[in-house]
Symmetry: C2
Subunit: 212 residues, 2 copies
Amino acid sequence: MEIPDIVVGRLPIYLRALSHLESIGQTVTSSHEMGNALGISSAQIRKDLSHFGEFGKQGTGYQVKYLVDQLRRILKVGADWDIAIVGAGDLGRALANYNGFADRGFRIRAIFDSDPRRIGQTHGGHVVQDARDIGRVLPELGIRLAMVAVPAAAAQLVADHLVAAGVQGILNYAPINILVPEGVQVQYIDPVVHLQRMTFYLEAPTPNPVTG
Amino acid sequence: MEIPDIVVGRLPIYLRALSHLESIGQTVTSSHEMGNALGISSAQIRKDLSHFGEFGKQGTGYQVKYLVDQLRRILKVGADWDIAIVGAGDLGRALANYNGFADRGFRIRAIFDSDPRRIGQTHGGHVVQDARDIGRVLPELGIRLAMVAVPAAAAQLVADHLVAAGVQGILNYAPINILVPEGVQVQYIDPVVHLQRMTFYLEAPTPNPVTG
DNA sequence: TAGATTGTTAATCGATTAACAATC
DNA sequence: TAGATTGTTAATCGATTAACAATC
């Protein structure tokens, strides 16, 4: 691999921090300032960016807007990506209603569920469609990314259908590992995993003798 | 640091996979089987586990139930942790209604919001409380973990209040980095970061000349 | 100029992997 | 026993950091 995955993984964090600086009107920053804000060494930020070119000026630092544009280009979020959501439960609906996708390169275009009671409902301006239509609708709309918010037991089957429909990237909220063909990207979001990564470092809770 | 963070980060993944095996009735597994399911080398799994003891048998592998118990102990999720949710918007409500916490070591105990229209509503059996009461309620209940599901602009202030109330771990859903005192754990969940980690590897979308 | 900061090199540090003796 | 798999060692591989010339 040309660029290490671990470097790619940090770029969205840099982009988010820089977009924030931009939004508060700051026009210039430095690797030191970014590092302080993110808890990362300035050397690492400079090294990471150096994989892609030279974006700063000695003595000055980085133009925020310019670096934002460059990172958007590198991450391919210059033009919007269309996304499908599978699962119209609480989480799927929250994602459908979330306003934070639009200005960061993504646009919800469809939402699916297999439960007849949910099909036809509207969330975030999108009518819930029958999950059986994934194979037809996604190619029609040219959708290549999906977020999976279904029960763990259904996630692998849903992923199979998505891949068959041409999806190239899956953000899986179901708390289970899924298997996909080579070349299909998968990322996971599982709050419990993150919580357990914190509790490791804390003192174990003392069970309360009253409430259990 | 004794145990590398990166090893700790994998343990919840191992635990999740093992719990899954347990749920489908499998009693024994091996580092090879786990590695295949997770896309991790068997050597890495054995090495990771070796930081904490010897849990397997040569020729046989690992007893699923025993290893689950051991990982629960190591991650300190043997007894339940109480959690507070801050933010009763779509995401906070989805978290409050999520049933996946209870059997993995966590229990929602309180939900807060600052919007008077949301205070008093009930979600997942919890009445939304005034965020101004965080400093009183959390110590009363002995809550040491919180999930933050508020707008980015409010996240730092909320984190400050949580830390002042004794919170030792924050799972931040707001798309912004927060600063906390040393010793306070922070984890981040931002779907856009994960989506951008995937789009890097894909071919950029061609803007549709009709729909934009 | 003097001060600041980049991009890059080389050294250090740490993580992963291959291999295998031990042993079930 | 024969086959399988662990736990561990040592080697390899890769990532991070310190340092600094270049230069704004």
